[in-house]
């Protein structure tokens, strides 16, 4: 369950205020946040996972108000309950793929379930690359491995940032299927943030973000 209320944010005192519509997505459901470039999508994503703090309003994940968490507790909570998939996959390059999947456990102080990590990689078709360095994987393999990493520790919410914007139609379908399947299997709420209009009709639960009336850099 992820929900927001009266969310607004400004980067600095003299920059314009960004306001966001209220969102709510129950457990296990899927939601699309659609908006053009520069409308504050990334800002909203960062607010949702607590990387940024709103000037006003609240973000709740499974009932926990992120605003009351500070420092290490916020880092831990985010690590435990939110999985992030980025447009381009990034890994800790010096660690193997499997070790990268152990990171979400280690960084949130949990014992790593490597069997689960391996089976997840197997299910996503990159099990044979578990011992490889991330940079030795193809872009597609990297994306699947990064989905595995985002879900390995069974977070409540899976946030995907522009997962399809660089893909052709066929790959877009494949990635979305993968995200939906895996989120459903992990019981995670899936929130996709994108400007990709192709996704518009795929989801019932969607919020269109208004473009700002200010010039963007």
């Amino acid at each position: 369950m992820i929900e927001t209320s009266h969310l607004s944010f400004r980067y600095s005192a003299d920059s314009p205020e960004l306001t966001f519509p209220d969102l709510s997505c129950p457990n296990g459901e899927q939601m699309l946040l659609l908006g053009d470039s520069g409308c504050g999508k990334t800002t909203l994503l960062h607010l949702l996972c607590g990387i940024l703090r709103p000037n006003q309003g609240k973000v709740r994940i499974n009932g926990q108000d992120l605003g009351v968490l500070t420092g290490k507790n916020l880092d831990r909570f985010r690590g435990k309950h939110v999985g992030l998939v980025f447009q381009r996959s990034h890994f800790v390059q010096s660690l193997s793929v499997l070790e990268n999947l152990a990171l979400p456990y280690f960084l949130t102080g949990q014992a790593a379930d490597l069997d689960h990590a391996q089976s997840l990689l197997d299910a996503l078709g990159v099990g044979h690359k578990a011992k490889s360095r991330p940079q030795d994987l193809s872009v597609g393999e990297q994306q699947r491995a990064s989905i595995a990493r985002a879900l390995v520790h069974r977070p409540a919410v899976l946030l995907a940032d522009e997962p399809t914007s660089a893909l052709d139609d066929r790959s877009t379908q494949a990635v979305l299927n993968l995200l939906e399947e895996q989120a459903a299997q992990a019981g995670a709420t899936l929130v996709i943030v994108t400007h990709d209009q192709r996704l518009k009709d795929r989801y019932d639960r969607k919020v269109e973000l208004k473009s700002l009336a200010i010039p963007t850099s």
Binding site: I51, K72, D75, V82, Q93, S94
Partner: protein, 393 residues
């Protein structure tokens, strides 16, 4: 999985930079430690051989040469002195004991020194086999001599005239090994000992020389009264003899060494400084190249402090590894040096144990390594994750 493992893997992922930092630090620490070791060995060796010899009586010449020749047996003697003159000094009331030395021959480069049993006793030398000499041409050999030339009790050999080479061998006189000394890490290890009569007889003295004309090389003196240092030079003014103080001459020698040592120490310090700059760059580089990775780890639950610890560990591992390599390097250098010097200086340099000062050196290296990592690490504490993630390609 832990931070140490991640730091270790990160260092392994940039092998060249890691190797550069390690090599620089290893050389810096190695040089400083080698200087410490060799200085200590040199001082120990000098001091062990002086024991409590207060004065050395010998022929006029360079006092330093007199000490080097008769206490350490590394230089040629200054000449001979008359036994009768020497005995006057030995019997002087201010003198407690005098150990006469006479030599002029060698066996395969090891000096054959005629003396009394007081000489080995002075160095607490004990026998590992055989017995002390009683008759002329019976010799007791030092442990190094026995080991190098494979001498055993009962073996015989000819001596060669002079102190170094074997061109002029006295084939008419046979020496018999009657005893082998235990290793004492003193000059005893390098000597072949016999009585003084032996030395006289090798050089054609068949007992027909008057006692008054017999000559020896030097006398090691122990004083009974501190005034001996002032009085004895007056006693021997009319003779060809001089007395020298080992402690003063050796001080002078080590002071001359000291200038070179200081220069080396400065160079070593400079190399260490470079290595810390290299660690600084290595960690800073980690930070720049892995900004996104660090931000990523933050999104996965890492606290800024955790990331800071991982960067500190990188610096710590580098400096610890460099320091350990440096100590190994200095031990290797010491073994090499000992082999080079053992022939020339006839001293064993052993004891490669860790010096207290080296412990401090390693501690300092690790501390500075951590500081070198801590400074760039601060920016990991302050990182704006949102901006780092947004700016990424």
């Amino acid at each position: 999985m832990n931070w140490l493992y991640i730091a270790w893997k990160n260092l392994g992922a940039k092998k060249l930079q890691t190797a550069l930092s390690l090599i620089l630090l290893a050389f810096g620490v190695g040089m400083v430690s080698l200087l410490m070791l060799s200085e200590k060995q040199l001082r120990d060796t000098f001091e062990r051989n002086i024991q409590d010899i207060d004065l050395v009586l010998g022929a006029k010449g360079s006092p330093l040469q007199l000490i080097l020749a008769n206490v350490y047996h590394v230089d040629a003697p200054t000449g001979n002195i008359r036994l009768a003159d020497a005995e006057k000094v030995i019997r002087h009331p201010y003198i407690a004991e005098g150990i006469p030395l006479a030599y002029g021959d060698n066996y395969r480069g090891f000096r054959i020194v005629g003396s009394t049993l007081a000489y080995p006793q002075h160095y607490d030398a004990t026998l590992q086999s055989g017995e002390w000499w009683k008759l002329p041409f019976e010799v007791v050999v030092g442990s190094k001599v026995a080991a190098t030339d494979g001498l055993q009790v009962g073996d015989t050999f000819f001596s060669a005239h002079g102190l170094q080479d074997e061109t002029d061998v006295h084939t008419d006189k046979t020496f018999v090994v009657v005893g082998i000394m235990e290793e004492s890490h003193s000059v005893m290890d390098q000597l072949i000992l016999c009585n003084i009569e032996t030395i006289w007889q090798v050089h054609g003295d068949e007992g027909d020389v008057l006692d008054a004309d017999r000559e020896i090389t030097a006398v090691l003196l122990k004083k009974r009264n501190p005034l001996a240092v002032l009085t004895i030079p007056n006693v021997i003014r009319e003779t060809n003899m001089q007395v020298a103080l080992p402690s003063i001459e050796i001080n002078r020698l080590t002071q001359n060494f000291g200038i070179g040592m200081n220069t080396l120490r400065m160079i070593a310090g400079l190399i260490m400084l470079l290595s810390f700059a290299s660690i600084f760059i290595s960690v800073y580089d980690s930070l720049l190249a892995r900004r996104y990775e660090l931000a990523l780890m933050r999104t996965m639950g890492a606290s800024p402090r955790g990331l800071y610890v991982s960067l500190l560990l990188e610096g710590g591992l580098l400096s610890l590894g460099g320091a350990i390599l440096g100590l190994l390097l200095s031990r290797g250098g010491m073994v090499l040096l000992a082999q080079l010097v053992a022939d020339k200086f006839r001293y064993d340099w052993e004891s490669l144990g860790l010096l207290t000062a080296e412990g401090a050196l390693v501690g300092l290296a690790i501390f500075v390594g951590l500081v070198a990592a801590a400074i760039p690490g601060i920016s990991a504490l302050r990182m704006d994750i949102s901006r780092t993630l947004s700016d990424s390609p």
